[in-house]
Symmetry: C2
Subunit: 483 residues, 2 copies
């Protein structure tokens, strides 16, 4: 924007009213810093439209005045994708006021949510109908449907149910010219050209602003069994995963891995926590089996069979089946506490990476000693979604360093090395958290030039003025061409 | 192309050699008419490159000479998407020579196929490994992987496993400038920007030429049960479907519906065929239940329970469970023979349409009498994938009409009316067969202008010269702007 924003702000205020637009710095401040506290920006104002029509009118206004827009949901993204830059010329557009569940059809197992519906709220709404929404993640108390769609969020149920992309049956979004892409009616099959819905999902607000989505629901599970197994190596954990897939098929809902040291750290950090097994094991696998009505009777036997045959095959050193739902929750609480327990230990750099599932053990065996050798005093830990080929690869700073200086210096260099390594292994530098501004330059440097050129072309075609979330994802607009 | 093609042909011949390029009209002729015999075109030559590198070099050559390219797999598409236009300036590019299965990893349950692999061949290759590829359709003896990907093909297993889009883990495609989009490594989770793979799937060769794909495989099923149920109405069939989904969950693999008259027609047409039930019923439901090892023991009981509770609830009039695998095949043979049986009856216009699953019975109840009233002497029949909200809505010509004249006259007008009706009902004029040239003008007329504008923008960005499959899908290139 090159002109005085006064006229734009006056028109936006007229359009949205006092609840819909504020310049009050106290009200805006909490939303200018990202979830992990890595990025802080400035904004012209905070807009909170109440309807798709208001979003569309606002985008048209922004387009006319050349005002860049940074869409934001629960502000719980991991890569700064919803944080404006420091220039202060962008409008922060919150979707949180659009928090209606427009409809919930229990029979058709579909729910139409506005972008601002919080994931936890969605879970509660559908549980009341005997259904479930098969995606969850740590930030469920903040994360919104719009943000989950725009970042193609993952979580701990991707193994069986896929990421957010797999849950979206229909979509409504406001495009860069203020037109409304309206495809909420869920057609199971529709081959009328390019899949524009898929193009918008995961585009981090750079192609359109998601205002609503139709999501699929599943029947509530009739039974679940949560298992904990100690294994000798990550390679063995993978063999156990394959064994579980063969034996349990669709009943296998989750398969997470945690190294011994990380587990000890969680047990020390989490009040009242206990390790599920008495002995030490190099790696621990957290396995969830679920069944609908059809398979519920045989689920406990399946869990026993899985562990017994795992012992026989030499894959499992020791194991436990949660004896109650409370114990099952306690097993999962250990997994969910890894991130806060680690934060309590001091500074670290986190990498959400993936490689082909079958190569993950070899990657970890290669990368951990390499990083620890190149950066003396650091500790590299890997944990997470082995079943998805997606681990969180965290490198913890040496004791006693200055947190900020380390993050900005060695921390960044370590991240560069991790991303280069994962690229060598034909993997992804962002498995589930997206690119945002955190990984933008890394993607520009390491991404496939053919894919980057396609993305630039699509962005240029759908947002020629570059007003939608500029500076995010990849260097899309001409001004970002040489990062 | 405005210049003499001699130079282009000479260079293409040098590039591809005698096996890779022919102008022999006898060799080319079979590939110039589409599967249904509705479209016949002409071609400059038939190119059959043997590798991705050759495709890329050929596309660069075409780009330099401005030669349009029509990619083709098994030539079994339903909408003329692989048939060149009548001008004769386009190069027909067959992918059939690229028929290698590059790798099959039974443990990781993945197969990397070149574009020319025939679906039937793929099925046989994976069955030998104790696995299955969960997509099948009538044209499996001709349809190729590249065509299935490019048209996002459907079939009879979409209910549980999704269309081709859901099977594709990785993709390789040659773009309009001859660059190679190479993303065959299957990363279960990858959030590095726009999902370009999804954009290419279903784009009918207008954005890129698919040269290979990594496909997911599933464990072979341990047991299947095929059920046949007579029901009083399509609405009752839908209630039975919901009942089956609640009771059987993931075990429900297929749910097809067939009206009585269509069944009688098939039984008359198919040698040795028998109706599964002795009495007449307004509608018939063909239901398949499957189970892996975990649920195989209980599958017959589940099938019995499904029918017994269906009787009790008043949904089922009469029913049978196939007593053997041979009988199960015989049940399915009735379904698969609907199209040939109908063709034997005389001319008809076919419409592959979808509406929201829950609205399909009401749509059929509305559309059938409407069409039959407006076009005296015709019979409208609906059958197919009720579970996907996708039926094949065929309108059979009055007896004694001239086939060609009827197709071109009343037939086209009837199609226009069917498409207008389905659009009023917020449905799709192409559920699974795509757009090609058959439905291009209908889509341009009836499609959402916002979606059409997005598609034009994306096409223009990725194929600015318009050399990839021109005239297909939607009026994409400027010369097609006013159909």
């Amino acid at each position: 924007m090159t002109t005085d924003p006064t006229q734009f702000l006056a028109e936006a205020g007229d359009l949205l009213g006092p609840r819909g637009l504020t310049r009050d710095e106290e009200l805006i401040a909490p939303w200018l810093t990202d979830w992990r506290g890595r990025f802080t920006g400035r904004a012209l104002a905070l807009a909170s439209p109440a309807s798709t029509e208001e979003v569309a009118a606002l985008v048209r206004l922004c387009a006319r005045h050349g005002v860049p827009i940074v869409p934001q949901g629960g502000n719980s993204g991991m890569c700064g994708g919803a944080t404006p830059d420091a220039e202060g010329t962008a409008l922060l557009l919150s979707l949180r006021r659009m928090a209606a569940i427009r409809s919930l059809d229990a029979e058709a197992r579909q729910v139409v949510c506005e972008a601002g519906v919080v994931l936890q709220t969605l879970h509660e709404a559908v549980v009341a109908e005997g259904l479930r929404f098969p995606l969850t993640l740590g930030g469920k108390g903040s994360a919104t449907v719009g943000g989950l769609v725009s970042t193609n969020a993952g979580g701990t149920q991707v193994l069986r149910h896929g990421s957010m992309r797999a849950q979206v049956l229909g979509l409504e979004a406001v495009l860069a010219d203020g037109s409304v892409f309206s495809a909420l009616t869920p057609l199971k099959k529709d081959n009328r050209g390019f899949d524009l819905k898929q193009l918008l999902i995961g585009s981090e607000g750079t192609l359109g602003i998601v205002t609503a989505a139709t999501l699929r629901l599943l029947p509530a599970i009739a039974d679940r069994r949560v298992l904990w197994a100690g294994v000798a190596s990550l390679e063995t954990a993978r063999e156990l995963l394959l064994h579980a897939e063969r034996l349990a098929g669709d009943a296998l809902e989750g398969f997470e891995v945690i190294p011994q040291e990380t587990l000890e750290n969680v047990v020390d950090h989490l009040p009242g926590a206990r390790a599920p097994l008495t002995g030490k094991h190099a790696w621990h696998a957290l396995i969830e089996l679920v069944a609908g009505k059809a398979g519920a009777d045989g689920l406990f036997a399946l869990a026993e069979d899985l562990l017994a045959s795992g012992f026989e095959a030499g894959l499992v050193e020791d194991a436990a089946i949660a004896a109650s739902e409370a114990q099952a929750e306690a097993f999962w609480a250990l997994r969910d506490a890894i991130a806060p327990a680690e934060r309590a230990q001091g500074p670290a750099v986190q990498h959400d990476i993936s490689v082909a599932v079958e190569r993950m053990p070899a990657f970890v065996a290669h990368a951990v000693p390499r990083i620890e050798a190149d950066w003396p005093g650091t500790r590299a830990v890997a944990f997470g979604h082995l079943g998805d080929g997606n681990i969180h690869f965290h490198v913890i700073a040496p004791p006693g360093v200055d947190p900020l200086a380390w993050q900005e210096g060695d921390g960044k260099a370590i991240s560069d090395q991790v991303y280069a390594l994962v690229t060598e292994w034909d993997g992804s530098i962002s498995a589930e958290h997206g690119i945002g501004q955190l990984k933008r330059d890394a993607l520009a440097r390491l991404g496939d030039p053919v894919a980057l050129a396609m993305m630039r072309g699509v962005k240029q075609a759908l947002d020629p003025a570059g007003i939608l979330n500029p500076g995010k994802l990849v260097p899309l607009a001409p001004r970002d061409a040489n990062p």
